[in-house]
């Protein structure tokens, strides 16, 4: 059974919702959030900063037809909440006849367990010790590693949702993310390496995370880039490796399948349901149910239980990611995809754990098919313009491929294309599927999302280099 979370008493919630209905709103929702944060940063092999605090606030959403009115406050009194409702409804209010009879409280089974959340008094010095191990392991890679930053972020987000359809539901989400960064220097040349695994769980996540391996990974990444050659520029085939390589799908396609842009017809895919939008070797999923995965949830931020959504099957568009307003505007069924950073944002359709499903090729087979191209082992971030599908993303660690073999490391590669174009250019899908944690910024703020894929081959894409 779920942990009982009571951040706002039911009677106050009912009174505020009834007031919204009295003012003629079609739908009223309260999103109550209390989030405890803790961050630790190790720099120069010493504790540089320990921070933390508590966020608390209530978001109020009123819906009049297609229009969303949204307000938020840190003051949970009934008087303040009604004041916000009244301010929001100033220009739209009309006589409302409905009232809410009562809430039906839904109990959720805990899917994503966290044994060492911020509620547990796990000793700070043990966390510091773990991060110190990461610092040490990174410095051990080379005496050219001149700086290391190792840090952790933990968050315990409690949400309680009430709405005028009688829904009352709550969830506690425990997040942890570990970050390692290395700076290498050789003369005047400098480079950096970075990795940041995360999960929807407590500090016990570090039990399965070896600080020596993580340190070695970021240290070697910085060293590889230190004297890397410049990246060639122009159109060429690119092999994008697994895990964070999935950012290509996230940017190129995922954002365009959110009803946030589909409903506005600001997505190039808005009228492409049931049509072939990708090479038939591509199948893709957005799955909020994966146990303890960084982008998972039990309920979305509109109170709907999460689900696994097949977005593309064998190249054919099979579903969008749909939130409540997206469903109202497009007619597609909700997929439990309404997400928001915090009570400060109205929910919007957003990604959860989004990935291309595994294929059959090995990485070596893919590389062997490339005469002149690049292999992007580790991708960085990127962005997309929803209206046109134009995207770009940066490769953190890349290598030149010549005659089917990896030749040497290169730096500063940027890949740019459009969503529809790149989906058709994927010709091979690998069998080495993996996921990676990231943060996604969009209209409803920055939310934890997981990207993922096996290695893929893109036959022709524009690469920016020097």
């Amino acid at each position: 059974m779920s942990v009982a979370i009571q951040l706002l008493d039911k009677q106050s919630a009912k009174s505020v919702i009834d007031y919204g209905l009295f003012l003629g709103a079609d739908f009223v929702e309260l999103f109550v959030e209390k989030t405890q944060n803790q961050s630790i940063k190790i720099l120069n092999s010493k504790v540089d900063d320990i921070g933390g605090g508590v966020d608390f606030g209530i978001g109020i959403r009123l819906v009049y037809g297609p229009k969303v009115l949204y307000g938020f406050t840190n003051n949970p009194t009934e008087e303040e909440l009604k004041k916000i409702v009244m301010t929001l409804a100033t220009t739209d209010k009309k006589s409302g006849l409905k009232t809410l009879s009562d809430f039906t409280t839904k109990d959720l089974a805990i899917i994503h367990k966290a044994s060492l959340s911020l509620h547990n008094a796990y000793p700070l010095d043990a966390k510091i010790q773990w991060l110190m191990s990461l610092d040490k392991a990174t410095r051990t890679v080379s005496d050219k590693i001149v700086q290391v930053v190792s840090s952790s972020m933990q968050k315990c987000q409690q949400v309680e949702i009430f709405n005028s359809e009688g829904l009352h539901i709550s969830e506690e989400r425990n997040y942890i993310r570990i970050m390692g960064q290395a700076v290498a220097q050789d003369g005047t040349e400098q480079s950096s390496g970075y990795d940041a695994p995360g999960a929807l769980r407590g500090w016990e996540f570090t039990d399965a995370l070896n600080p020596n391996q993580l340190g070695e990974l970021v240290g070697k990444q910085a060293m590889t880039k230190l004297n890397a050659a410049s990246c060639p520029a122009g159109r060429m085939p690119v092999i994008i490796d697994n895990a964070f390589g999935g950012v290509i799908f996230h940017e190129a396609c995922g954002h365009l399948l959110e009803t946030t842009s589909v409903a506005k017809k600001a997505s190039v895919f808005h009228d492409k349901m049931d049509t072939l939008i990708a090479n038939p070797c591509v199948s893709a999923v957005d799955d909020g149910t994966i146990e303890n995965e960084w982008g998972s949830i039990s309920i979305d931020d509109e109170g709907m239980e999460t689900q696994k959504t097949q977005l593309i099957k064998n190249g054919v568009l099979t579903s969008f990611m749909v939130d409540k307003m997206g469903a109202q505007k497009t007619g597609f069924a909700r997929t439990g995809s309404g997400r928001r950073q915090s009570y400060r944002f109205a929910p919007a359709s957003r990604m959860r754990n989004t990935f291309i499903e595994a294929g059959h090729s090995t990485l070596e087979e893919m590389i062997s098919t490339v005469k002149d191209g690049i292999y992007c082992k580790k991708m960085g971030g990127g962005s997309v313009q929803p209206g046109t599908g134009e995207f770009n993303f940066n490769a953190q660690e890349s290598y030149l491929i010549k005659n089917g073999k990896i030749e040497k490391p290169i730096k500063s590669a940027t890949l740019i294309s459009t969503g529809p174009e790149v989906l058709k250019q994927i010709s091979m899908v690998g069998n080495n599927f993996a996921l990676a944690a990231g943060m996604c910024g969009s209209v409803s703020g920055s939310v934890p999302t997981t990207v993922g894929q096996p290695a893929i081959k893109v036959d022709d894409i524009l690469v920016g280099g020097r």
Binding site: G71, N74, A233, K265
Partner: protein, 445 residues
């Protein structure tokens, strides 16, 4: 707020803290978005947050709370004191600012102006933004993103030594986007505006720039791969410099993540380049007279005729590097003490705008991927761009789907020309002459 701050300080000292500083921020905002002729989003907020920084037994601790009830504030202080036990002993960082005799209340005409615009007028304005884009005619399929917002905030800084400073701000902003579609090709462009009052917003310019650029770029295509001279528009020039601001941070120098850490008084840029960080730049949106430790701040030259002349310091970094504190402390209620720049203002250069735009160059009006395509340590950057190929003052080709790559630190040493007129970016936070960057790698066809 003053009483709340004093109460927190008294409690902190009673709980054993030796020093205490409090930042309290309260805000109110209104945000409106339009879509398809109707108000799509109407958002209001009332927020508050208190952040505390304490020093106990030589160690620093921070915490914050958005809840102001007694139990929450006490819990905030307990967290700060508890976490301080694990912090490094800081011989340089202390809470030492005292009242300097300047006005406690820094609210002035540069941060706050009366505005009587009604909510109905604001709603009408955001609907008009979208309507004006669509009224431009057939290539404009939609204006999917339109918004107008008003933000008011009040911030106070107080400490155990009796320092008390406050500032009140209000600003308005608006933006729109135009999505053009013709012959199966699409192009979208955003433009924004900001002002201290509603009437300072140039909403017509938002519409015109968004439409003009979207339309001009619709038939854009890549140029041939090669080296080009590049002139960024003011918004993108601001973004580009903004991506590399860490080079001025004393904190980053101490932390060994500032590639210019050992370049003080050395040549880092073209000798015609002078950059000033000016918190009191009149007409800028972020006007301020004191930093986040409550210390009075003034204009500071960062690059003087091409030489790195100062780092941005707070009291701790200045002490550690044995340099003068120039009052660039940056700290929000949630964070620990850092440094931050204010408004960047370059002095005019020696070349005319015609010199900057001579012969052939790429005029860049949109950059994509700035947050991910930059390596501050090495100076390497690579991002997507759109704009125009210009020859002898004439746009001869709309350019899209190209990547622009280079090393920022090498490029600013070799700027081809710096204009002799200074222009503001659209949100009035960056003031600069035009700059011509030579030999940027552009990947296209």
């Amino acid at each position: 707020m003053k009483q709340t701050a004093q109460h927190i300080i008294d409690q902190a000292l009673a709980m054993g803290a030796n020093e205490c500083e409090v930042i309290i921020s309260k805000g109110r905002s209104l945000s409106l978005k339009a879509n398809e002729g109707a108000l799509e989003e109407h958002k209001v907020s009332g927020t508050q947050i208190a952040g505390v920084r304490i020093k106990k037994d030589g160690k620093l601790g921070t915490s914050y709370s958005e809840s102001f009830d007694e139990a929450s504030l006490k819990s905030m202080l307990q967290t700060a004191i508890e976490t301080s036990k694990y912090s490094k002993t800081s011989e340089y960082e202390s809470i030492s600012a005292t009242n300097d005799g300047s006005n406690e209340d820094a609210t002035c005409e540069h941060t706050w102006k009366e505005d009587k615009t009604s909510d109905e007028q604001k709603v009408a304005a955001v609907l008009k933004l979208e309507g004006d884009v669509l009224a431009k005619g057939s290539p404009f399929k939609s204006a999917p993103y339109n918004g107008l917002s008003e933000n008011e905030s009040e911030k106070i800084i107080a400490n155990h030594l009796g320092l008390f400073k406050s500032i009140k701000r209000r600003y308005f902003s608006g933006y729109t986007s135009a999505l053009a579609e013709r012959d199966g090709k699409q192009s979208m462009h955003y433009y924004g505006t900001a002002g201290l009052t509603f009437s300072e917003l140039d909403l017509d310019k938002c519409v015109n720039v968004s439409c003009d650029q979207a339309l001009s770029l619709i038939d854009g295509s890549p140029v041939s791969t090669g080296q080009y001279a590049v002139v960024f528009d003011q918004d993108n020039l601001a973004e580009l410099w903004g991506a590399f601001l860490r080079v001025f941070s004393a904190k980053a120098a101490i932390d060994k993540v500032n590639p210019w850490a050992k370049k003080l008084d050395q040549k880092v840029a073209n000798s015609a380049l002078t950059l000033i960080d000016d918190p009191r730049y009149v007409g800028a949106m972020g006007y301020q007279t004191f930093d986040d430790e409550g210390i009075a701040c003034h204009a500071l030259t960062l690059i003087d005729k091409g030489n790195l002349s100062n780092f941005l310091h707070n009291s701790a970094t200045a002490k550690e590097m044995n340099q003068k504190n120039n009052a660039r402390a940056g700290r929000g209620p949630r964070g620990s003490l850092a440094v931050s720049s204010t408004q960047l203002a370059f002095l005019a250069g020696n070349d005319t705008d015609q010199d900057v735009k001579a012969n052939e160059y790429l005029e860049i009006v949109s950059l994509q991927g700035l947050h991910s395509g930059v390596d501050v340590i090495s100076g390497d950057f690579s991002f997507g761009g759109s704009g125009f190929l210009v020859k002898n003052g004439v746009r001869v080709q709309a350019v899209r789907n190209v990547t622009i790559s280079g090393n920022f630190y090498e490029l600013i040493l070799d700027l081809g020309a710096i204009g002799n007129k200074v222009y503001a970016n659209s949100d009035r936070s960056f003031f600069s002459p035009m700059m011509r960057f030579e030999n940027i790698s552009v990947a296209g066809k």
